[in-house]
C-alpha cells in the first residue's frame, strides 16, 4: 500500500512537476531588467521610429553651442539675457522654466533628461516625452505630427522642434489660402 502510494506520487511528480518547474525556470533564469522585458512585449508601432528629417532645425550658425560656450564660465543663475539669445522668449511650461532645465550646463552640445542622462539634439523626443507622455506615445504611433513618404514603406518623421519652437511651442496662427469662389461671383 505504501509503495503504491509512493509510486502514484512519483508518477504525479513526473507528469505535472514538469509543468510546475518550467515556467518558474523561465522567470528565475531571466536576469533582464524591467525595461528590457517591456521592450520585448512592445508591438512594433510603439518603438522609436527610425526615419527622421536630419538634422534638427537649428538657427544658422548656432550649433555646436560649445563654439562659444566652451570658453565661458557656466552661469546657472536665472537672469535676463542681454548680449546673446535675446530673440528667445521662453514661454513654455510657465515662469519657472530656465535654459538649464533642458540644456546641459556642463556639456553645452547636449540636452539632459530629469534623471541626468545626456542626450543629443536629434533624440530630443525623449526630453519632450518626459512631460508630454501621451503626445510622445501618439507620435511614436505616427498619429501626432506630420509624416511624409510612403504609407506602407519608408516614412519621414519630424522631430518635435521641426513644427514647434521649443521655447514657445504654441503653434503660430497662419494666413489661410484664399476661400473658394462663391456661386454669386461666377461671371
Amino acid at each position: 500500500m505504501i509503495i503504491n502510494q509512493r509510486t502514484i506520487f512519483l508518477l504525479f511528480l513526473l507528469l505535472f512537476g514538469f509543468f510546475l518547474i518550467s515556467p518558474s525556470r523561465s522567470f528565475s533564469s531571466g536576469s533582464h531588467s524591467d525595461a528590457e522585458m517591456l521592450q520585448k512585449t512592445k508591438t512594433p508601432e510603439h518603438e522609436i521610429p527610425k526615419y527622421f528629417v536630419p538634422p534638427p532645425p537649428f538657427s544658422e550658425g548656432i550649433f555646436p553651442c560649445s563654439d562659444c560656450h566652451g570658453e565661458m564660465e557656466p552661469n546657472p543663475e536665472r537672469r535676463e539675457l542681454e548680449e546673446m539669445h535675446t530673440n528667445i522668449h521662453l514661454k513654455h511650461a510657465g515662469p519657472e522654466q530656465w535654459c538649464t532645465d533642458c540644456h546641459d550646463l556642463k556639456n553645452r552640445d547636449k540636452l539632459h533628461l530629469i534623471n541626468g542622462k545626456l542626450i543629443n539634439f536629434d533624440e530630443l523626443y525623449y526630453l519632450c516625452g518626459q512631460c508630454h507622455g501621451t503626445i510622445f506615445r501618439d507620435w511614436k504611433a505616427g498619429v501626432h505630427g506630420k509624416r511624409t513618404g510612403e504609407w506602407n514603406g519608408k516614412k519621414i518623421y519630424r522631430l518635435c522642434t521641426h513644427c514647434h519652437n521649443p521655447h514657445q511651442p504654441h503653434f503660430k496662427p497662419l494666413k489661410p489660402k484664399h476661400p473658394p469662389e462663391r456661386p454669386s461671383d461666377i461671371k
Binding site: 504611433a141 504609407w151 497662419l174 489661410p176 473658394p180
Partner: protein, 307 residues
C-alpha cells in the same frame, strides 16, 4: 413606262430597296459627329467600359490619352492605370483637434489632381464652425471664411471631401456605371464613360462630387503630368469628378498630397487591414466618428479628436 413620264436625264435606276438602304446609311453617318473626326476620336467613341477592357486594350487607351494630353498641354503627360494592391483597404483619419483651417490641403489637392482653375473646382471644402454651440449643424458652417490669421478664436474647422463610402450612394445612382468602387475601396469615375447626368451628385450626402460646367482650364506649366486613368488625368467638359485618395500616388505606396502638405499633421492615411497602420491606431485608441453615420453610407473617412 414610269421612266418616260419622269424625265430622268441621268437615266438613274434607283429601286425602292436601294433607296432605303442608302438613306439609312446616310442617316447613321450624320448621327456621328464625323466632321472633326480623326482616328483617336473614333477609338474614343467606340471605347468599351473600362472594366471590360483587357490589358492590351487598356494600354491602347492609355497611349491614345497620353498623345491627346501631351498635344493639348504641349508637354509630356503620362497616364497609367495601376491596379489595386491586394489586401489593401484605404482609410483616412482627420484630427479635428489639430486642423487650423489654413486650406493648404485644398490647393495641394488642386495642383496634384489637375482640378480646373477656371471654372473653379475644389475637391476639399473646409468648413468653419463656431465653438460653444449646443450642437453642430452643418448648415451653420461657413466655407468662405477669410480672416487674416487662422485659427480664429472660438472657431474650429472640418475639412470635407469624398468619404470613400463602403456603401456608396453615388455609384448606385449612376445610370451608365461610369463610377464604381475599386477593390482597395476607392470610389472612382471613368471620365470617358460619364454622361454628365449628375445623378451621383444628387445622391452623395457629402457634396463630394463636382461637375465640370465649362471646359476645364489648367495652365500648361501647372499641369501635373503624372496621371492615372481613374484619377487625376485632365477631365472633359460635362463630366463629374471627385477625390480618389490620390490614386496615382497611393497605389504606388505614397501618401496623398493633402496628408503631405498639412502643416499641423492633422491628416492620417493608411491600410485599414494592416493592424500596425496609423489609421488603425486612430480607430482603436481615439474617439472616432464618421460624418452622417445615420445614412449607412459607411465611410472610410474617420474624424477623430486626439487631445
Amino acid at each position: 413606262m414610269s421612266k418616260k413620264i419622269r424625265n430622268n436625264p441621268l437615266s438613274l435606276q434607283l429601286d425602292r430597296r436601294k433607296f432605303l438602304k442608302g438613306s439609312a446609311l446616310g442617316l447613321a453617318a450624320s448621327a456621328l459627329p464625323l466632321q472633326n473626326a480623326d482616328a483617336s476620336f473614333i477609338d474614343a467613341f467606340f471605347q468599351k467600359h473600362f472594366r471590360e477592357l483587357n490589358k492590351k486594350e487598356i494600354q491602347e487607351v492609355l497611349d491614345r490619352l497620353e498623345q491627346e494630353y501631351s498635344e493639348q498641354y504641349s508637354k509630356h503627360v503620362s497616364v497609367k492605370a495601376t491596379k489595386a494592391m491586394p489586401g489593401v483597404q484605404f482609410g483616412y483619419g482627420l484630427d479635428l483637434s489639430r486642423c487650423i483651417g489654413c486650406r493648404r490641403c485644398v490647393y495641394a489637392c488642386v495642383g496634384e489632381n489637375n482640378q480646373s482653375r477656371d471654372p473653379q473646382i475644389h475637391w476639399i471644402q473646409v468648413l468653419s464652425f463656431k465653438k460653444g454651440e449646443k450642437w453642430t449643424d452643418l448648415e451653420d458652417s461657413d466655407k468662405y471664411y477669410n480672416p487674416d490669421k487662422v485659427p480664429e478664436p472660438d472657431h474650429w474647422y472640418m475639412p470635407v471631401q469624398c468619404q470613400q463610402c463602403r456603401n456608396p450612394a453615388c455609384t448606385r445612382a449612376c445610370p451608365t456605371q461610369a463610377t464604381w468602387k475599386e477593390p482597395d475601396g476607392i470610389v472612382v469615375v471613368d471620365y470617358n464613360w460619364c454622361i454628365g447626368c449628375r445623378y451621383c451628385m444628387a445622391a452623395c450626402p457629402y457634396g463630394a462630387r463636382h461637375f465640370n460646367w465649362g471646359q476645364p482650364h489648367i495652365p500648361n506649366d501647372e499641369l501635373n503630368p503624372e496621371t492615372h486613368y481613374l484619377g487625376n488625368r485632365p477631365r472633359y467638359k460635362g463630366v463629374v469628378e471627385k477625390c480618389t485618395f490620390c490614386i496615382q500616388r497611393t497605389r504606388d505606396g505614397r501618401y496623398p498630397a493633402c496628408v503631405e502638405i498639412c502643416p499641423v499633421g492633422a491628416r492620417k492615411f493608411g491600410n485599414l487591414l494592416d493592424p500596425s497602420s496609423e489609421i488603425r491606431y486612430c480607430i482603436e485608441n481615439k474617439r472616432v466618428f464618421r460624418l452622417k453615420e445615420e445614412l449607412n453610407t459607411l465611410p472610410k473617412f474617420y474624424y477623430f479628436y486626439a487631445t
